[in-house]
């Protein structure tokens, strides 16, 4: 075995059943809504029925009089605001003086039964003074008053950013070809099968415990302490396994905080389980983004200048929106060589449920635009779009125009793999009318380089306890949201210690029982928790090796098969349990820790914090479609997708994530719309979510899935645990643009919008421009752009016009200049 593989693994790369599988398939797994306690009360929120108004009065007397009601809460009970980002603490657990969208919670009823709480909530009388409603970003730009929030970048603009990484206008002026495009990517929601639920109680341990379906127990912990005024040391947040999150459970939510406060007031456990409609109001889904792109290329197609402007419909609150805004520009540069780059991004407030992070956070929209844009450029230059992607791929170890350091890049092998598997060379542009192939590629982060709140502490920590039975317990604050992070933790520890994966017990998602992990967002867990786990496990291994007493040099000690043995004489050794016992006897109880903090990023301009990552994953997809010209109905025949995983810790789980991404992406690409309905203003002031139900919000069902062929590219990443990269989000990205490009190949019309509905395809087929999509971008008063010269134009990672320029020691300059 050792002879054929220079690095034989015990666990890694094996298609093992995931450690939490039995619980899932037998129903043993307890999700947040499965938690119940004796004497538990039920909480129901009363939500705003108007989109934008001042609250003049709230009458709770009728609700309080209902038999079984134990408490009614209003905004006055929650004077302290919160929010996920320190720069947008703009939410109140219950609205204080204003409501900002239909669904914004105004009051809460706690009762002995859920139905009583619901009936009483309907009796709460709220007097509203209506305010002008803002329904779209265009309207937000046009109507600065009334302001939805009294902070931000003026009027109803939440955030506007501008960057010039080199002089793009000059580059375009001298380019061989300049292509200009407008794209729109509609908003959509996560649609996790598990609806949010929370249970809060004051325990006999004199702690306030909040059990909640959250991807980020650590941030809920912080927000609860802040709003409730309870010391964080007396709050415990438990995140049980979840039925999907996809970014929809990464903010601290009003219902969690209200449940906690209600438990404090009543002294009883308080439970809330949201309805599907309420989940649509929590939202934090994909921002609708309007884009304007201009790109100049030389004769060979190499990009000499690329400009993108984005306009985001943020909805009613900040959420992650500032980060989302930066993300609509940050990752444009990490796939292909771009000499100069110009980015403008603007997020507006509107009276709709807040947008936030959904799988791909802010990047699927510009990625859609860029990949379709490139398809058009290739068409104009007569180049094969697959070959263009190979020829223009960024080189490993590059520093991009916007100062992102990219290490391993699996882009070319990904493109080559889908080209080969799909028969691209023989079939592209040759399938005949009605059938088409399209290609796209993409990249995504393996965790953000910076934490959400500024601190110097680790992003993830893992603690191991080795028991003399040979069992190992791994503690970590990471949240298992269905993605398989518990399995990653167990697998890595088992790998390093050479034991069976089932001998590793994981304890995760509990702020009282494990070191902090920032949460299951940003595709950070495998890399960050994984590195912490490997560090902790290596330290344990060192202790065991030291105490094993095999009488051989340390470097000859091997771990495998639940044994500790002599690598050159495998017969000679002891069992793993015995090694633990010897270590215990020698040095006391065996526990180790590991932690991880990402490397510092080379960019130092204001805004450089969004985009850096220890590593980037790459994906490429080819999609084949059949388009019915009489109706515009698009049928996806097959998807070939390759993903650069660095190293597959468990290939079955990796494929599951890839296929899940394809599934989610096809829903977005073909039909999903977080659409709103505004009724004739003279009849109704309403602005409501058009389809807040799982039936009418159209998304693919299992039976609608086409065949998917998944190819994993393994090219180990030095920054990843055993070389692993992310897979949770990246594979979503190439799918929508590959589909759009395939539709073009089939019927030669461009739908520059997502979703690509039959209506739009048919409209494009009937239009003289053979196109459907936006054709203008509204005027935005951009702030003065930060001018940051690219590395190859003498830059050092700073903006040359930043008011307070940071120090630039020579050492940094030299480090950054390295290839």
């Amino acid at each position: 075995m050792a002879g054929s593989d220079p690095r034989p693994f015990n666990v890694l790369g094996k298609p093992l059943r995931r450690v939490d599988a039995l619980g899932k398939v037998t129903g043993d797994t307890r999700f947040a809504d499965d938690f119940a306690m004796p004497g538990m009360l039920y909480l129901k929120l009363s939500r705003s029925t108007v989109p934008h108004a001042r609250i003049a009065a709230i009458d709770v007397s009728r609700a309080l009089a209902v038999d079984g009601v134990r408490a009614v809460l209003t905004g006055k009970d929650f004077p302290v605001p919160f929010g996920i980002l320190p720069v947008s603490q703009d939410e109140h657990a219950l609205c204080l003086d204003k409501v900002r969208f239909v669904g914004d919670p105004v009051a809460a009823v706690v009762a002995t039964e859920e139905l009583i709480a619901e009936e009483a909530a309907a009796l709460i009388g709220v007097t509203y003074e209506p305010l002008t409603t803002i329904a779209s970003p265009e309207e937000a730009l046009r109507v600065p008053e009334p302001r939805i929030h009294d902070y931000g970048d003026g009027g109803n603009v939440h955030k506007a950013v501008a960057f010039d990484f080199g002089d793009v206008p000059a580059a375009l002026a001298s380019a061989h070809l300049v292509v200009e495009d407008w794209f729109f990517y509609q908003g959509n929601t996560h649609l996790a099968l598990e609806q949010h639920a929370a249970l809060a109680y004051l325990g006999t341990d004199e702690r306030l415990t909040i059990v909640s379906s959250t991807q980020t127990p650590h941030y809920v912990h912080r927000a609860a302490a802040k709003v409730l005024g309870v010391p964080a040391s007396r709050i415990r947040v438990i995140a049980p396994p979840q039925g999907g999150g996809f970014g929809g459970k990464t903010d601290p939510f009003n219902h969690e905080i209200v449940a906690a406060k209600a438990a404090m007031i009543t002294g009883r456990p308080v439970k809330i389980a949201l309805t599907r409609e309420e989940v649509f109001y929590c939202h934090r889904g994909r921002h609708p983004v309007l884009m304007h792109m201009r790109t100049g290329v030389d004769r060979a197609g190499h990009i000499v200048g690329h400009s993108i402007e984005t306009l985001l419909d943020g909805g009613a609150y900040g959420s992650y929106g500032v980060a989302s805004t930066f993300y609509t520009g940050a990752l444009e540069t990490v796939t292909y060589r771009i000499d100069r780059y110009r980015f403008r991004g603007c997020r507006t407030f509107t009276n709709k449920p807040p947008c936030g992070p959904k799988r791909g956070h802010g990047t699927p929209q510009p990625r859609f635009g860029l990949e379709v844009h490139i398809d058009k450029i290739c068409e104009k230059l007569g180049l094969d779009p697959a070959q263009w992607r190979i020829d223009n791929a960024l080189a490993e170890g590059s520093l991009t125009a916007n100062w992102l350091k990219v290490r391993t890049i699996g882009l070319v092998p990904c493109v080559e793999a889908v080209v080969a598997a799909s028969g691209w060379k023989e079939r592209f542009r040759k399938l005949g009318r009605g059938r088409g192939l399209g290609i796209a590629a993409s990249s995504y982060l393996c965790g953000a380089g910076l934490p959400i709140y500024w601190n110097e502490m680790p992003h993830s920590g893992v603690q191991l306890l080795l028991d003399r039975s040979g069992s190992v317990t791994a503690f970590c604050g990471a949240a298992e949201v269905g993605q398989g992070s518990d399995n990653v933790l167990a697998a890595l520890v088992a790998e390093v210690l050479g034991i069976d994966i089932l001998d590793v017990k994981v304890v995760t998602g509990d702020t009282a029982l494990g070191p902090v992990d920032l949460g299951s967002y940003s595709s950070r867990v495998t890399l960050m928790m994984g590195n912490a786990a490997v560090e902790a496990a290596q330290r344990a291994r060192d202790r065991l090796a030291d105490a094993a007493g095999l009488g051989i040099p340390l470097e000859r000690i091997a771990f495998g098969g639940s044994r500790v043995f002599d690598a050159s004489d495998p017969e000679k050794g002891i069992s793993f349990a015995e090694a633990v016992q010897r270590a215990e006897a020698k040095g006391g109880t065996v526990g180790t820790i590991g932690s991880y903090r990402p490397p510092k990023a080379p960019g130092h301009y204001k805004g450089a914090g969004v985009g850096p990552s220890p590593s980037y994953s790459y994906s490429a997809a080819v999609i084949e479609v059949a388009v019915e010209e009489s109706t515009g109905i698009v049928r996806v025949e097959k998807v070939w997708i390759a993903h650069d995983i660095g190293r597959a810790i468990n290939p079955v789980l990796v494929r599951g994530q890839v296929e899940g991404s394809v599934y989610m992406a096809l829903g977005e690409a073909l039909m999903e719309e977080q659409a709103f309905r505004r009724l004739p203003p003279r009849l109704s002031g309403a602005l409501v979510h058009q389809t807040p139900s799982m039936l009418e919000y159209k998304s693919l069902a299992t039976l609608d899935m086409p065949a998917v062929e998944t190819i994993l590219i393994e090219n180990p990443e030095p920054n990843g645990p055993f070389g692993a990269k992310e897979v949770g989000q990246g594979p979503l990205l190439p799918v929508p643009p590959a589909l759009a490009n395939a539709v073009y190949d089939a019927v030669r019309v461009r739908v520059d919008e997502v979703p690509i509905t039959p209506e739009k395809v048919l409209a494009a087929l009937r239009s003289s421009s053979a196109r459907f999509g936006p054709s203008k971008f509204p005027a935005v008063s951009w702030p003065e752009a930060l001018i940051v010269p690219p590395p190859w134009e003498g830059g050092d990672g700073n903006a040359i016009n930043e008011p307070k320029r940071r120090e630039r020691p020579e050492r940094r300059r030299a480090e950054v200049a390295k290839p």
Partner: protein, 329 residues
Amino acid sequence: MMRLPRFRYLAPRKLSEAAAALADLGTQASVLAGGTDLLPNMKRRQQTPATLVGLREIRALRARSGDPGSGMTLGALTRLSEIEHDSAIAANWPALAQAAASVATPPLRNMGTLGGNLCLDTRCSYYDQGPEWRAAIGYCMKKDGEICWVAPGSPRCWAVTSTDTAPVLCALGAEVTLVSAQGERRIPVEDLFADDGIEHLTKKPGEILSAVHLQKPTPDARSTYVKLRRRGSFDFPVLGIAASARLRADGTVEEARIFLSGTGSRPTNAAEAVAFLAGRKLTDEDVLREAAESIAHVARPLQNTDFSMSWRKQAAREFAARALRNLLP
């Protein structure tokens, strides 16, 4: 989670007991078959009957009699999944099997009944929403309000018939038996429906649909059901086209019946297309196109279902042609 409102539940074992209970309780009661339509509606507070008269214990409503040779009677509680998987139905009334198979999802078809499908409430995207949502836009006249959001000037409700089996049973010329405390009557399925989004059934509140009667098919009979919807997996019909016909060997139409779902408050009879087709050859592409055009003409969409209106008009033509083509051997 969404809670059902409070209600009383009766479980009679005999049809006569059920009919008596309904006679007693009047509009305060609803019958419950599979519950796949009624219970979600109750959760949304669209219907809040004080009493539910459950039919599941009434064995007579599950009975089936007759055979293809003589015509067949299906009890109202026949589940859609039974119809979908019945080889005699598939062979003799294929449109019915196709329609049943296209309703909802497999688990819902295991619960949903034929009677419930025929009595399915009409649907409207302004109406099939939770109570807070409806409060936010203002209640409409179908429940608690005055206005119609689809046609604000209109005195009537335009909610849409969305059952898949109703147009098929109309096209097949099937009949239903209605039982009440006063007795029973048998009417063509077509006459079960009224052109009103609120009072969409001619059935009186005290009447229970007990059985559906299928006519014996002639040897040259053909039938088909074509359904337009967003997803292939499940969705209510945006347009359902049910067609049955007797064709001569040369493709000449002896007789045809065509009914549509999703285009009005009751199944729409495409009578003009039918009259046009009589005596003409369906094998003639021009004839087929013109008939399809005529069907599309009566498939007038409203703005209260999925898809844009203008697209639905285009698609109607295409789907009508598809349905007609399916009639050819």
